[in-house]
């Protein structure tokens, strides 16, 4: 009879000797059979386990008292279920690992005994501890017995251990010993000379601080040993050294998978809405799809909207030469009116031309507006125009506060990109770009600018066919690239350009036979959402320029329409459309989720998702109004289940009638709308 080896002596969960003695032969799988023979250290570290594990000792006693004898259960086959492909041993070992992790040491030991599977061999736990304790020679000695078959892998692992040793010696100001490691251990491993050179250069570091910074390494007392262990996991076969928290990792993957398949996903995953018992699915009824407020004060088309960062204000820009800041406040009587109350907070007139763009400072104290080539800075408390900036020579088409809040950036049809200080002083004015910029966006990580616009070709070659179109019979609209207004919009090639913010150099420049009217970079700074007229919106990868996803269904031919990301984790893409509807897609799949009607005739020009409330967004339209979209009130959910309840007569009909009545009031679109008229 063979004792189960002690394992995991660094945790509070060592196997109980009493149990293992009764456990019967442990059937270690074939891949570790070789190791069993070398298992001579068992007694060497059993005391260690007892020494640091009070819980283990208690449990061992407990088992001894009960005198329970755990018989190994012999099961046929090797899979978890007859028809599953899950290996039973793998599953059980992961369960044992998890049980140990959370502190169910007795159960883990029992399971080991009953199944005959062990979590891991003593060498593995020894090795782990040697690394964490910085006992390099011992770690290396054990390394050879961990089943690293390829010589190369073994050398790499040795290199990583010696590298850690070397860095720690340097950190401890023992350059002589470090040099010896470099010469006698690292150099003979035939590593890349550059790498060796870099390592040797660290000897010049005068201060440990300097060393840690240059090596990108957080020191012996930091997390570096743990990180080394993580990397070493890649070299040791996972059957021998199971990656930490492996079960949890797999469950995490299941969560991610379910979350990706949850197309209406719009709530943070947490214990209350994610259960192992059932697949996660957000309720479609919680999607913001009804108009709860119409802001109706502009006297002409509303072209753009922008939420303040605190989500409490919405700024709107209109062709009527004004911008309005709207304030939302919680309803005074949430029972009768469940939605926020809205009121105009400030009306910013004093624009010579229609207002095109808006941008809030990070602290929401300043609002920028653009009107033709001018940018105006407004105090959002007082409504006073602080400054008017007149540096652009053509229409400003994009203004955006910088991610660090120190200033803002603007782009325009004059091909200029200008960086401004927060007080409106020009910090930097780039040389004209190759495009008449129609929109730009700085990545949140502050490394790139993504700009879209019309190609600019200073010397346009004369068109041979223009002679023909001069004939009397020619329709003015057919006058080629230089013809009448109606023929222009789709004829000028556009470009998407990605600039490195620091070097100002273009990293990407893609010519597109389309009108690019808006760009928004993703939260992870990896992609950009671009309106691509006619009738498409593209999500493009910023490194490769490739299209990640296309969103179609909306109409865009002639107008500037701006789309945006929305919802939790930017799960949605939203856009206006020339057909007066608002379109919502699932970002990852491109599936069209919602076509929301309500706006009057004309284009829905822009949409904006509330940054602090993932269940609210706004849209603005040629119909001069702004609509606030929210989920139906909670009672709507209740009512969604109503038909089932009714048939089973589960609740008194009077209650139902009342509920119906209230729901009718709240859900019927016109009933819920809070009109804010001048």
């Amino acid at each position: 009879m063979m004792r189960l080896p002690e394992t995991d002596h660094d945790g509070p969960s060592s196997g109980a000797p009493g149990v293992s003695a009764q456990a019967g032969p442990s059937s270690l799988n074939g891949s570790v059979d070789g190791l069993v023979a070398t298992n001579g250290h068992k007694n060497g570290f059993t005391p260690l386990a007892n020494g640091n594990s009070g819980i283990g000792a208690v449990m061992g006693n407990g088992i001894a008292k009960h005198g329970k004898s755990i018989a190994k259960v012999n099961l046929p086959g090797t899979t978890l279920y007859d028809d599953s492909f899950v290996n039973r041993e793998e599953f059980v070992r992961l369960v044992i690992q998890t049980l140990r992790d959370v502190g169910y040491a007795e159960s883990a030991a029992t399971l080991e005994a009953e199944s005959g599977y062990t979590l891991e061999l003593p060498e593995v736990s020894q090795f782990r501890q040697y690394i964490l304790d910085g006992m390099w020679a011992k770690a290396e000695a054990v390394l050879g017995r961990l089943g690293l078959h390829e010589t190369e892998g073994l050398l790499d692992a040795k290199f990583l251990i010696s590298r850690q040793k070397y860095l720690e010696l340097l950190e401890a100001r023992k350059p002589t010993a470090a040099l010896q490691v470099l010469r006698n251990e690292l150099a003979p491993l035939n590593v890349d000379p550059d790498q060796l050179h870099t390592l040797s250069s660290f000897i010049m570091c005068a201060e440990p601080e300097d060393l840690r910074r240059r090596a990108g390494w957080d020191g012996a007392s930091g997390d570096s040993r743990r990180q080394l262990l993580d990397i070493l996991h890649d070299y040791v076969p996972s059957t021998i050294m199971i990656p930490p928290r492996r079960f949890s990792t797999l469950l995490q993957q299941a969560t991610t998978y379910q979350r990706q398949r949850c197309i209406y996903h719009n709530s943070a995953l947490n214990a209350s809405n994610f259960s192992l018992y059932s697949d996660h699915q957000c309720n479609k009824a919680d999607f913001p799809r009804i108009t709860t407020t119409i802001l109706d004060m502009h006297t002409d088309e509303v072209w753009n909207i922008e939420w303040s960062h605190d989500g409490a204000y919405l700024a709107s820009a209109s062709k009527d030469k004004s911008a309005i800041i709207w304030r939302r406040s919680p309803s005074a009587d949430p029972i009768s009116t469940p939605y926020d109350q809205w009121a105009p907070h400030l009306i910013l007139r004093d624009h010579q031309y229609p207002v095109g763009c808006l941008s809030w400072s990070l602290d929401d104290s300043i609002l920028l507006t653009s009107t033709e080539q001018m940018i105006k800075m407004w105090n959002t408390k007082t409504g006073v125009c602080i400054r008017t900036l007149d540096e652009h020579t053509e229409t400003v088409t994009a203004i955006s506060w910088l991610p660090d809040g120190t200033g803002f950036i603007s782009g325009g049809l004059d091909r200029k990109i200008i960086i401004w200080d927060a007080d409106g002083k020009v910090r930097d004015s780039w040389n004209p770009t190759g495009i008449r910029i129609t929109d730009l966006s700085v990545t949140p990580d502050f490394t790139r600018i993504v700009a879209v616009g019309m190609e600019h070709s200073p010397s346009f070659p004369p068109e041979p066919e223009s002679n023909q179109t001069r004939g009397p019979q020619a329709d003015a609209g057919a006058a080629g690239g230089n013809g009448s207004s109606s023929s222009f919009s789709s004829r000028v090639p556009h470009r998407m350009m990605v600039f490195n913010f620091a070097t100002k150099q273009p990293e990407l420049s893609i010519r597109l036979e389309a009108d690019l009217t808006s760009v928004q970079t993703s939260q992870d700074s990896q992609s950009a959402l671009i309106n691509h007229a006619p009738n498409e919106i593209h999500l493009r990868d910023l490194s490769t320029g490739r299209i990640v996803c296309k969103y179609v269904g909306q109409t865009q031919g002639r107008h500037v329409i701006r789309s945006c990301f929305g919802g939790i984790e930017s799960n949605f893409v939203v856009s206006g459309s020339e057909d007066a509807n608002v379109y919502v897609w699932h970002r990852e799949s491109g599936m069209l989720l919602e076509v929301l009607s309500g706006h009057g005739e004309g284009s829905v020009n822009s949409v904006a998702w509330n940054p602090t409330n993932e269940r609210m967004f706004a849209s603005c339209s040629d119909d001069r109004s702004i609509r606030i979209w929210e989920a139906p009130p909670p009672i709507g959910n209740y009512m969604a289940e109503f038909p089932i309840l009714e048939s089973s007569q589960a609740i008194p009909s009077t209650t139902l009638e009342k509920a119906k009545e209230r729901t009718r009031q709240q859900i019927a679109e016109t009933g819920t709308i809070i009109r804010t008229r001048r």
């Binding site: 031309y353 229409t395 346009f460 004369p462 223009s466 329709d475 003015a476 006058a479 230089n482 004309g602």
Partner: protein, 110 residues
């Protein structure tokens, strides 16, 4: 309806509005320099951009009766010339659908 940017022309010679420099036409679409407007010399163009057209109006002209519309700069609203909707004299039919811009209201832009 809807927001749209003004058009930008490219070519060797671009005519813009003298008040606000908005691009209007290029030399490639110019059909004739031999016209007269209210401010002197005027040009006939096949295609003009960034303009707003007024209401049709019947006007007797030196070359006969025409239905024309005044045209205005889309940005600053300056009256720039007119567009021929209809020419009543058969010899003048070629002007239909074409635009007159007054030279004194134009400026070279790039």
């Amino acid at each position: 309806m809807g927001m749209s940017y003004r058009k930008y022309l490219s070519g060797e010679r671009i005519y813009g509005c003298s008040t606000c420099k908005t691009h209007l036409a290029t030399i490639h679409t110019m059909m004739s320099r031999a016209f007269n407007g209210q401010h002197g010399r005027a040009y006939l163009f096949d295609g003009v951009v960034n303009i707003v057209e007024g209401e049709p109006d019947d006007r007797p002209m030196t070359t006969g009766n025409h239905t024309v519309r005044d045209i205005y700069c889309i940005k600053c609203g300056t009256t720039l010339g007119w567009k021929y909707d209809k020419a009543y004299e058969p010899s003048q039919k070629y002007k239909e659908g074409k635009y007159i811009l007054e030279r004194n209201l134009l400026v070279d832009v790039q």
